[in-house]
């Protein structure tokens, strides 16, 4: 059983509360997208689900077993892909089978033919079979990310986690990578949780959406409930905030009784008038 249960998850780093009492359940085979602005806790959530971080409070269960350390059946895809750039695509994919092989076998690439074929098949799935022997360093960002997906697939996971897998890619590659992720998850019946910060991509690929803001879950719902109101809730009204910030900050400057007051105040007067914050 590979359903995921997150129960009362809280994670603090010193003073910072990265996650604040987050709970949800993901049934087997669902494709979930986690949204939130930078610092909202997306990475922390995924790292907890993977056992890379230990929750301060609360619990995460896969089926019935709690997660407390990285496990082969949970595969993770990272924003910075984290593949070994010094190895070729095939060897990178093959590292997904490390947990099934002894140290010496993996050192000399004496894995079973089955494992090797599986690595190539995973590269095929992400459209990189022809580049299997190319050095990862010489690949484009999108290709590297796809190698990361291939490695995850070779792990034979039941759960696929991905932390902003397309954040550093251009739109074309982003769509391609998300497409591969969705195809792979669907073909293999994987439960997938993927964090994103592009709303348009999320809408295009997501099945279910979880919104985080300041570590709290502010939205949890399916396609039909995911509308502009939800986006405002997740992202706040960043437009105004972003565009008028310089003037806003000038407002809390020092006392207005300084020498060069006349010109400056007139200038500030104009901009203060322009916004009501």
């Amino acid at each position: 059983m590979s359903s995921i249960t997150v129960e009362g998850l809280t994670k603090r780093f010193g003073e910072t509360v990265a996650l604040d009492d987050v709970s949800f359940e993901v049934p087997e085979g669902e494709f979930v997208i986690v949204l939130g602005v930078s610092g909202s806790g997306k990475s922390t959530l995924l790292r907890c689900m993977n056992g890379l971080e230990t929750p301060t409070e609360g619990e995460i269960r896969i089926g019935d077993t709690p997660v407390d350390e990285p496990r082969p059946d949970i595969a993770m895809i990272f924003q910075q892909h984290n593949i070994i750039e010094q190895m070729n695509a095939y060897s990178n994919a093959l590292t997904g089978s490390l947990n099934r092989n002894t140290f010496l076998d993996s050192l000399f690439q004496r894995q079973s033919e089955e494992d090797k074929l599986q690595a190539l098949d995973a590269l095929d799935t992400v459209g990189l079979l022809d580049e299997a022997q190319q050095n990862a360093q010489q690949m484009s960002g999108g290709q590297q990310q796809r190698v990361g997906i291939a490695r995850a697939l070779v792990q034979d996971p039941t759960i696929l986690l991905a932390d902003e897998p397309v954040a550093s890619l251009d739109p074309g590659s982003s769509q391609q990578v998300m497409g591969y992720l969705r195809t792979a998850a669907a073909d293999r019946g994987l439960t997938a949780v993927i964090s994103l910060h592009q709303v348009n991509l999320a809408r295009k690929f997501g099945e279910r959406f979880i919104g985080l803001r300041d570590g709290k879950k502010v939205f949890d719902g399916y396609r039909d409930e995911f509308d502009m109101g939800v986006i405002d809730e997740i992202y706040g009204d960043i437009d105004t905030e972003g565009m008028f910030a310089p003037d806003g900050e000038a407002d809390d400057g020092p006392d207005p009784s300084s020498e060069s007051g006349d010109d400056a105040s007139s200038k500030r007067g104009v901009s203060s008038g322009g916004m009501g914050q």
Partner: protein
């Protein structure tokens, strides 16, 4: 143009801060200068009265460079012939086939000392270097290995040479052992440093695949640093050839030995000839090593070389094995 109050205030603040900073820097600089002055006193620098002896020194330099003449055109080609005569007579560069010195003469012995020392020291350097990393050996224990490497480095190769006399006798063998020991300390430390700087990401990713500790170390860490490790080894090889010259001076054989004999004979021209050979040797080693290193750094080029090297046998083998 005029500016807002907050800008002016900030400006005043920066001016003040800069003034304070300048004071602090001045104080630091003065402290450094004071230390420098004290150090010069300690070594007796002012007592040595260097400006006085500069003409003497320049004069003495002429012993080394017989091809300089005081009059125009300042260079006498015959001086170079003196150099060459000595180099040729003493087999400095070319030992000939089947002779007693190796193919590359005395330079060959020096090179052999540096090379053999590097190869002999490499395995232990790798072991200690990896075990010295906090990522591999947990905190207090990795300092055992770091301390060991520090201790080895702290003892100059010259002293190691002395310590090894009962083992290797007098001559190049002992020097080679000393170089190998030095390599463990120097190369190992570079390895440790390099390991501290690798990215955490790929290691973490390896962890999530369920790899065990040796796999984590090999694939997550070492695979990231093979290129820099090779580069550092070549760098230490360069340094080891230089050390081989120094050890030769105190009895290790090779070019250093020749140098020290000629020094004893006050044969400055011959000494300079030897120095020239040392120069050629070391610069050659450096160029070769730097070529390899830059090829390694730019994967493309390496790819090019590897492709070139492998292209032919690959086609051959493919034909044969199919």
């Amino acid at each position: 143009m005029s500016y807002g109050d907050s800008v002016r205030d900030r400006y005043e603040e920066i001016v003040l801060a800069r003034r304070v900073r300048a004071l602090v820097f001045l104080a630091g600089f003065a402290a450094l200068a004071g230390l420098f002055y004290y150090a010069l006193i300690s070594v007796g620098f002012f007592a040595a009265n260097i400006p006085n002896y500069l003409p003497n020194f320049l004069n003495a330099l002429r012993d080394f460079f017989p091809f300089f003449t005081p009059a125009f055109p300042f260079i006498e080609p015959a001086g170079f012939l003196d150099y060459w005569a000595f180099i040729d007579e003493r087999n400095l560069i070319w030992g000939g086939f089947g002779g007693e010195t190796p193919l590359f003469g005395e330079a060959g012995i020096t090179l052999a000392m540096g090379f053999a020392g590097t190869v002999m020291g490499f395995p232990l350097a790798l072991l200690f270097g990896v075990l010295g990393s906090g990522r591999v050996t947990p905190f207090p224990f990795n300092f055992i290995f770091r301390g060991l490497m520090s201790s080895i480095r702290a003892i100059p190769a010259l002293v190691w040479g002395l310590i090894y006399i009962p083992l290797g006798g007098i001559g190049p063998v002992t020097a080679t052992l000393a170089i190998a020991t030095d390599t463990v300390g120097n190369l190992g430390r570079l390895f440790t440093d390099e390991l501290e700087e690798i990215e955490d990401g790929p290691i973490e990713a390896m962890e999530t695949t369920g790899a065990n500790k040796p796999q984590l170390i090999t694939f997550g860490m070492l695979s990231q640093v093979t290129t820099p490790f090779i580069a550092w080894t070549l760098y230490i090889f360069e340094i080891n050839v230089r050390i081989a010259v120094s050890l030769g001076i105190i009895g290790g054989g090779g070019l250093g030995n020749v140098l020290s004999v000629q020094q004893g004979l006050f044969a400055f021209t011959n000494m300079m000839a030897t120095i020239l050979v040392i120069l050629v040797l070391i610069i050659s080693v450096e160029i070769v090593s730097q070529r390899i290193r830059s090829a390694l750094r730019e994967g493309d080029e390496a790819q090019g070389i590897v492709a070139l090297l492998m292209g032919f046998p690959q086609r051959m083998a493919e034909a044969a094995l199919k």
